[in-house]
Amino acid sequence: MNGNPGPILEVRDLHTQFSTLDGVVRAVDGVSFDVARGETLGIVGESGCGKSVTAMSILRLIPPETGRISSGSIKFEGEELTTLSEEEMKRLRGHRISMIFQEPMTSLNPVLTVGTQIAENVVRHLGVSWKAGRERAFEMLDLVRIADARRRLDEYPHQLSGGMRQRVMIAMALSCDPQVLIADEPTTALDVTIQAQILDLMIELKEKTGTAIVLITHDLGVVAETTERVVVMYAGRKVEQAPVEALFEEPLHPYTRGLMGAIPRLDVEADAAGTRPRLQEIPGLVPILTQPIIGCAFAPRCGFATDRCRSERPPLVDAGAGHLVACWEVDRVRRAA
């Protein structure tokens, strides 16, 4: 790996906006984070919190007709990505930064064999021969534990199951030894037993290859079991960031606490048959992102909110040991534990 000790990816004060008929949507509203070499960073939040748009911004895949990165900086190995030309980005994507998405069928070409699709990526980025590219494709399918990889090279995506397609996507994404893999809800469309296989595979390959993973998900269980650090997003903003153990041990933002109270748990002590404790609800709805948000975005739904929360945007402050939280009332929240 590169000897440079700095973060592999640095996102600073990112703002990404979309123009819609209803006005400008501030999908990402000032988000900053780093990804260290070889780490797994989780970005978690509910629909519309800006987690996927953050990923798309890093990859510069925001559709230019409607959206744009309006300000901020994204540095990969110290190189600014927001100002790169499309040609330069194409050389980077699938090579040094790769991605996998929720539904592999929409990312795979239905009329090319999986071997050709993986080889194409290798030939294009590494400039090797097609023969070498195909050999690499075989190695990769074998690495992601697709049985009978030699034969599968000549199969089309529709001949594979959902879990196998996602393995093919991972094989393709890792085929050029990327430094960063961005995985946007990679297991959301899969059955639980297949999800467990894919998550285990991702962790194992990460340890083997040293690729840093940015895992974007709505699923707190997936975050807890696979990531090392977590960013929690709400309404386009980062509201909390912490090492994974600290986040689940003592969530500090009222929104994070609300999320954790809202999920039914499998791991807590089995309750007596018949009793069904109420789940904690987060009242209200997420804010509309076309309207300017004054103060804390979560204030209208928050039991701790004060006048200051409704008028001043809380800064991210370090609550100790790398645990950052954007909440004016964090001391009260802590005492309420």
Binding site: D191, A196, E245
Partner: protein
Amino acid sequence: MTDAPVLQVEGLVKHFPIHGGLLQRQVGAVRAVDGVTFSIRRGETLGLVGESGCGKSTIGKVVLKLIEPTAGKIVLAGEDVTALKPGAMWTHRRRIQTIFQDPYSSMNPRLPSGTIVGEPLENFGIARGAARDDQVAQLFRRVGLRPEAMRKYAHEFSGGQRQRLGIAKALSVNPDVIVADEPVSALDVSVQAQVLNLLIDLQEEYGLAYLFISHDLAVMRHISHRIAVMYLGRIVELTDKRTLFTQPLHPYTEALLSAATAPDPKRRRQRKKIVQGDVPSPAKPPPGCHFHTRCLYATAECRVTDPPLLEVAPGHHVACLRRPVGGDPGPLSVP
């Protein structure tokens, strides 16, 4: 909970024919549901859990008689409705209603929500005009929507609010049974909690029986009283939820529980028995026990003999040759 079942299903089979060849003759069948028996009491939630293609949604549709069963018997509130033609079934639809995963696709975009929710009241001749509007307003309040919202159209509601509309519509005819097929799967967790709480409150208030279909074990454990685990068209284990989660006996149940993620980083890497491979096609299920191709404990006999669903302990039904009646509930050994 009273003991009389409001819904009984016996030996239910649903095969979908596969046509092929030049003459489009039937060349096979997808055995979506392959002999399923269960019953639900008033005020009880029976969960049907399993992965894609296990037949859980098909059971929901057959029970609602949206599709006809190939074989078996469906008894709704004491009456055999299996052979009823659509016209005759119609009067029974008041007793059994449904909630979908995506209520939006079942709502006419050109009608105000109040009209959508009130439609069953008119169809069944329960209320008309001002009386209907009063009842709809009550239903709106009961599911946590403001009655003024009756004038709004489906697209003006959020996903969680639309699910509330779907629930209000299902409730309008005062049914005995509600089939809920993945009702919270499309919702964000904070909204999911609201809808689950509402479903539980309504059940306790009206004594509703739920057939709750989901792939999500945590949701299932939260809402169900008893749970049936399905694999390739068959129930492999059926018991009360506490027993299922603390003492699962079928290797597939064990695999499902082991694969589920939990919001607890300390639990990571404790997952031990992850089953490998994919679910076989229901058009060509393996012989013997359907799960034997992925089972850690399968023996030679499992590959040829169909395991019957047996009551191995009171209220605990398991379909596994290695789990005989009165057998040791401890861990199985790998042969």
